[in-house]
Amino acid sequence: MTRLRLVSVPEHEPTYELDDAMTRRMKALACTAPLHDLDARKGMLDWVDAGIYQMAEIALHMIDKVTIAMDFDSGADHERMINKVTPFVAAQAPDRPNTEHARVAGWVLDNLLNVGTVDRGFRRVYGELDEGGTYRRRAFDFKLLVERAGTDGQVYLRATDEAINVLVGALDTDVESAQVAAELKLEHLISSGRLAEAKLAAEQARYRTVQFGETLRGRLDATRRDVRAVDWEREIPELLDSALRHVEARFRAESAILRDITAARDDTEDIEQKRRAAELVDIVGDCIRRHTQLQARLQSAGAVFRAEQDRQQFSGPAKRAAIDLYGQLLTPILDQPVGTAARPLEAYFRAAAGIRPPTATSLPSLVSLLLRPAPERAKVVGEVPDPQLAPSEDSERFSEEQWRMADELLDLPEVGRELSGLLAEAAERDPELARLVALRAVHAYSPEVGAAVRSGQGRMLVAVATGRTIETEVYGGDELLLTSAEISAETGTAEDGTDQES
């Protein structure tokens, strides 16, 4: 990685090398975290007893399906994906209703998108040593599935590079070399007759092809929009060349594989082998179809560039000097930190947004406003209004003074007192106070010791029933014996003895 070149102190070099690999591995690890998270959080779902579902598996399956559905132009929409994954969910819990399966699939999809956050992505914090050897915490932002707007305005799902890497388990590898490796492996596996693994390798090869096509699609799209955004001097010719070479090689390899497998399918006696070989034929056939698609794009790429260059470059001589908006403003500003970029952008906006006459209401305009037909529903949801929250009035049932007095009464170290006595004493001071004391006494019956230990309280109020009953005008019920029990921090539990006997 280029990072190594920046190292100025030679003796630190090994540290950085280690550091770099570490960062890569940390990032790779981070990509799997959302999947583990799904299983960790499934217990919190209140609409389903989710223990039976293996959420991470469903998530992987979902990413699988989305990746396969991706091609040059679009992906699959939410509903289709949920429909495709539902059978897999159903297989995990056949006796649950189908609506639940679909809902689980939808939940997994939402979580892979991380719906509910503004950026719809994930963030993991990792640390690395900078040039000076200081430990710095950095945030790694990534996404697994993204939503893209299709040409028809529909929202489609696509798997990101991170997701494809997590899926195929080939973390931190080069797309092209991984493709070659996968194919060599495939041939080897077929020649040694291990078809199940061959199928896996063929599927991996297909993901790689999809990923490769995705890279290319982005570059071609960018060229169509703006020739100069893409480096057509070196980067793209190289990319196209290597892509064409690869497609050629893959055609050869896969045609050979297809021949072999077809032969294997027809020759073998073993039904299972036959079925697997047939599956493999399908997959390889699909790979070849995708390569054809890729090749067609590759061949037209040069023409796209020339046409776009003609369209975008031809112009008369410059009339006068003007600023190059893209090169001199947009790119430099994008490269600034958010805090710094705000000022030039605000300066730009103020001047470019035009003027806005202050609105003054007049009766004629109000009338026409009221008579105007209802506006059509916009495509975009409007701004969400900031809710004005009025502070709730007087939410406290008891005043602070009452709580303080109750604390005083219920502070009973090493002595036990009966509830009836406490109530009588409290009622003398304030009738409402008695009510608070009674409530707290009932609350102290069988208290949550664990919670008190965790919150680090020294003491807690404990109540036990004495077997007698209280009968007063206001209160009735079991007589309770109250005391403040010490919590011993060493053992991490309340001393049970005090608890029971006091």
Partner: protein, 263 residues
């Protein structure tokens, strides 16, 4: 200014400025407007008077032409100023407000950069650019990708200094589209923000929808070109210079030209 300015001259000058406040009105559709524009070009006293009236209201006359009429810009703190704060008010959380403003600003700048891709286009009065939601978002994302590649994965933002996060990182992180429950495009996705910007600019008379069928495709107007060329680009550039960011312009802009033998 000479003494023979009459009350009716002042009224005419103010009327011309008032026409400028209605950006969709054009001289070709209004005889009075066309008359005033012509007078502005011919009568230097009237020109000064108009400029003076505008200046008194905190406005600046950028251009007066028969095509798009009078183009005005608001000075800072003018009553006519469009404030970024009010435009980007959707941000609810304080920390995010800055990011939100930056994203809106980038989108507005990208609309202009796409509408006038080369310096020549900005300078050429007859040039008409086309923009669409998809293209604007694509231009910014591509620029972000190049910057991301240049950073080579070293630029992950520091956790304890979120304001040092680069603008391109903030943009890249925001999803381009996000489906809402009722199947519409979420307003805080970048495409949602772009389409809001385009609609806003169309309302200001800077863009015109190409046709009603192909939703979201607009062409630029002369008014927009003037606004960007005469004021906005320079203002932003001056701010950048103050930050010490200097880019050396190439003669052909940043458009790449290929050598002859590849053609």
């Amino acid at each position: 200014m000479s003494a023979n300015v009459t009350l009716s001259d002042a009224e005419s000058a103010a009327r011309l400025v008032a026409f400028g406040l209605r950006p969709k009105q054009v001289p070709s559709r209004d005889v009075v407007y066309a008359d005033l524009v012509r007078r502005y070009g011919e009568d230097s006293v009237f020109k000064q008077l108009t400029n003076g009236v505008a200046a008194g209201m905190g406005l600046m006359v950028l251009d007066v032409s028969a095509g798009s009429g009078i183009v005005l810009a608001a000075n800072e703190e003018s009553a006519f100023e469009t404030k970024m704060d009010s435009y980007a008010r959707a941000a609810k959380i304080r920390d995010r407000r800055e990011t939100e403003k930056v994203l809106h600003g980038i989108i507005h700048l990208a609309v202009a950069a796409l509408g006038f891709p080369r310096p020549d286009d900005l300078a050429n009065d007859t040039y008409v650019g086309r923009v669409s939601v998809e293209q604007v978002d694509g231009v910014v994302r591509e620029a972000c990708r190049v910057l991301d590649e240049r950073a080579a994965g070293k630029g992950d933002p520091l956790v304890d200094a979120p304001e040092l996060e680069h603008a391109w990182q903030a943009y890249m992180r925001r999803p381009e589209a996000a489906a809402t429950k009722d199947g519409r495009l979420a307003a805080d996705s970048t495409r949602g923000m772009v389409s809001r910007a385009l609609r806003f600019l169309a309302e200001q008379g800077f863009l015109v929808a190409v046709n009603a069928d192909a939703e979201g495709v607009y062409r630029t107007t002369h008014r927009y070109q003037v606004q960007v060329r005469e004021l906005a680009a320079d203002n932003a550039f001056a701010e950048l210079l103050e930050l010490g960011v200097v880019t050396v312009p190439e003669s052909g802009g940043s458009l790449r030209t290929s050598t002859v033998d590849t053609l």
